[in-house]
Subunit: 206 residues, 2 copies
C-alpha cells in the first residue's frame, strides 16, 4: 500500500490518544502513568521516550487544541460579519469541539482551564489570549455602536467565555441534557442572552 518508510504506527499519537481517554475517565491526578501506558498498549518506559513527564503529556494535549481555538477566534474576527454572528461563531466552534471530541474537551476544561492552581496557572497566558480575542470583538462592536459602551469589554468577554465553559461543565457532569439538538439550542441561547444584554436598546431597560 504505502511506502515502507512510513512508520506503521505513530506511537506518540497513540499515547496521546490513550492519555485523553485515561484523563477523562480518572482525572489527571488520580491516574498513574502506567494506566496511560496500558491503555495505549505500550510499555511504561515508552511514555518517557516520547514525553519528558506526565505533565508534558497533558500540556501537549492542551496546547494542541487551544491553538486551534485561538486561530478560530482570530479567523472569525476577521470575517466581515456583525458582532453577534462573530460571537455565535466562536461559541459554535467551542461547542462543536465538545460535540466532536467530548473526552478531549472534558480533559481540557476540567484539568487545565478550570484547574486554576495547577495547569491553569501554567497556561494562563494562552487562556488569556482567548479572552482577549473575544474582548476585541466586543470592543469593536462598542466602537462601531452595535454594543452598549457602559459595560466593560474585558468583563463582558469573561462572562461570555465563562457562560460557555459553564455549559461544557454542565454537559461533562450531566447536569444538563446533551442530546443532539441541545448543543445548537444552547449555543443560540447563550448568544441570544449575552448579546441581548450587550446590544444597545437594552440600555434603556434599567
Amino acid at each position: 500500500m504505502s511506502a515502507a518508510k512510513a512508520p506503521p504506527v505513530d506511537r506518540r499519537r497513540q499515547i496521546l490518544d490513550a492519555a485523553v481517554r485515561v484523563f477523562a475517565r480518572q482525572g489527571f491526578h488520580s491516574c498513574r502513568v502506567s494506566d496511560i501506558a496500558r491503555e495505549a498498549g505500550v510499555a511504561y518506559g515508552l511514555v518517557y521516550h516520547y514525553f519528558t513527564s506526565k505533565d508534558q503529556v497533558l500540556n501537549e494535549l492542551f496546547t494542541e487544541r487551544w491553538s486551534l481555538l485561538l486561530a478560530a477566534v482570530e479567523e472569525v474576527d476577521a470575517r466581515p460579519i456583525p458582532p453577534r454572528e462573530k460571537l455565535d461563531a466562536v461559541a459554535g466552534f467551542i461547542i462543536d469541539s465538545y460535540r466532536h471530541d467530548p473526552e478531549l474537551m472534558k480533559v481540557i476544561v476540567v484539568e487545565v482551564t478550570r484547574a486554576a492552581n495547577s495547569f491553569g496557572r501554567t497556561h494562563l497566558p494562552e487562556i488569556r489570549k482567548a479572552y482577549e480575542g473575544i474582548e476585541k470583538i466586543v470592543a469593536d462592536a462598542q466602537r462601531e455602536g452595535t454594543f452598549r459602551r457602559d459595560v466593560d469589554a474585558t468583563f463582558a468577554s469573561m462572562w461570555f467565555y465563562g457562560a460557555i465553559e459553564q455549559l461544557l461543565s454542565g454537559w461533562v457532569f450531566e447536569l444538563i441534557p446533551s442530546a443532539d439538538g441541545d448543543f445548537d439550542r444552547a449555543r443560540e441561547m447563550v448568544v441570544e442572552t449575552i448579546c441581548g444584554g450587550l446590544e444597545r436598546g437594552a440600555e434603556a431597560s434599567r
Copy 2:
C-alpha cells in the same frame, strides 16, 4: 474578663483559619499537612485530633461557607422584590463574601467549585442547590412575565452563576482590577447584562 470555663483558644478554629491561608497560598494539593500545623502554630498530630483527614479540613471550610450562600439565596428569594433585584442581591452576597474574605473564597472557588474532579464532585449536590435556587428565581420571573420564556431557566441560572464565578476567578488571578469600587461596578454590570438579556423587550432584538 470572660469566664475561665471557656477554652482560651479554639484550636479547631485556629487550624481552620490557618488552613485557609495555606490553601490559598499553595493550593490544597501542593501543601502538606505539616504546613497547616506550622501555620497554626500547633503540632502535626493535633490536626488529626480535630479532623479525620486533610480532606475533611477543606470539606469543613466549604460546607461552612456554602451553607451561608444557600441560606442567603433562599432568604433573598422570599423577599417581595422584582427578580432583577433578587439576582442583584445574590450577586452582591457572593461578591461581598469575596470582598470580606478573599482567601477563603479563593479556596472555595479554586479548590472546590471549579475542581470538578476532586472536591467539586464530592460537593456537587450542594453546588447544584445553589444553581437551583437561582433557577427558581428565573423561572418565577418567567412565569410572572418579567423574563422572556424562550431561554431555559436552568441554562440561564448556570450562566448567571458562571459569570460571577468567572469574576471571582478574574480577581483571584488578577486578570481584572480589584480596587474598592470595582466590586460594586462589576456586580452592577453582571446583573445589568444578564438581566438585560433575560428581560422581555430584548426578545425582539433577534
